[in-house]
Symmetry: C2
Subunit: 245 residues, 2 copies
Amino acid sequence: MTESNKPSLEVCLSPALLHLYDVKNSIVVIIDVLRATSTICTALYNGAARVIPVATVEECVNIGRAIDGITAGERDGKVAEGLVHGNSPFEYPREFIEGKTLVLTTTNGTKLLHMAKDAIQIVTGSFPNISAVCDYLVSQGQNVILGCAAWKDRVNLEDTLFAGAVVSRIKSHFEVNCDSALAAETMYEAAQGDVFTFMKQASHYKRLAKYGLEKDIQYCLTPDGANVLPLFKNGELVAEEVSVK
Amino acid sequence: MTESNKPSLEVCLSPALLHLYDVKNSIVVIIDVLRATSTICTALYNGAARVIPVATVEECVNIGRAIDGITAGERDGKVAEGLVHGNSPFEYPREFIEGKTLVLTTTNGTKLLHMAKDAIQIVTGSFPNISAVCDYLVSQGQNVILGCAAWKDRVNLEDTLFAGAVVSRIKSHFEVNCDSALAAETMYEAAQGDVFTFMKQASHYKRLAKYGLEKDIQYCLTPDGANVLPLFKNGELVAEEVSVK
């Protein structure tokens, strides 16, 4: 079907659909906008040495102890028992996180990250680092899968919107033959100018707003507040200089 | 999360996501716009006694022989070997199909239909019978799942657009707390006024247009050309008078 020599750009709206995609021959962008991937780039932007994403609270505690890391993660909107910090990007200013290792447990994002382990490269994406992600994807000339972490496998608005924002920015460099990409881009265009107001319709917004997290949401929907590229290497996310081909 | 006593209205964008939904306590609308569910309502509207949806060509041949039915189905855009008719709604005018049984093999739609077998009720939906479907859903006062048949489990534009059209029409009667419903409705609104032109971006459009099926597509995207409600009962789809509560 490819009519050009451009690499493909696809959107996967839920981890439960990832098996339909050719992960092995693609760069996969893990998207968990509220708030895992926004917090990851923020911590790295503010000088964290690395972020280790783990699936369970137990793993988080154990690894945190072994390497003297900052353990972080929430369950039902509160810092999980046994951990010290939460999921908010505002908990990780430079004066706190610089030079340290953040061990972060998230459910949806970490699950997807492990599912994508055979990818050419995994990076994480969110509005605070959208330009770094787009520049990287364009520079690599590889097939790309924008992988939404979703919410317990259900399609969510915020991750879809971010995928759509990326499609909108970089599609001219790719062959886009994917209805999910078209859907995501259409969503983003419908929201454009006011992603925050658009998000107020979303199921996750309602969940987080209950916990008083509007300020977090606003930050997580604003481009380039922490414009660094987290690359996944040997189980860790690190901010690295990217060689542009 | 429900703030009202209204039943819920949700959209499931792919059969691979259906396990996330409470099928057992819902009416499920099977959506396979290009072209299975459009052809089903057309055949019933034109007087077919019933439509029997089957998964395989072999089943189609066997059942067709046993009950002296019209066997129909395509693979790769051609009438499948051993079957007599194709998937086009235009193959089933009244003078041909009235009083007869259509045994139809489709892959995506039939698969979803069998997955939803525990639903309160299964009906099929498409633009040619959108009003009948909407009237029925509003009249029943039950939870609704709009189930997109998709394309080999991948989200597709045409089924999403139809789901969005239904959400747009009936949402005031339901509690809608589902980001997929919001996505579908946003897609539909973006396309409104010219669903056909919007569809030209879709992956499936490109597949079908190769086979010269623009006329089919146009019909399948036009509301109320065959405004009857196919109800699934004992393995068959029948057009029945619906009792409005």
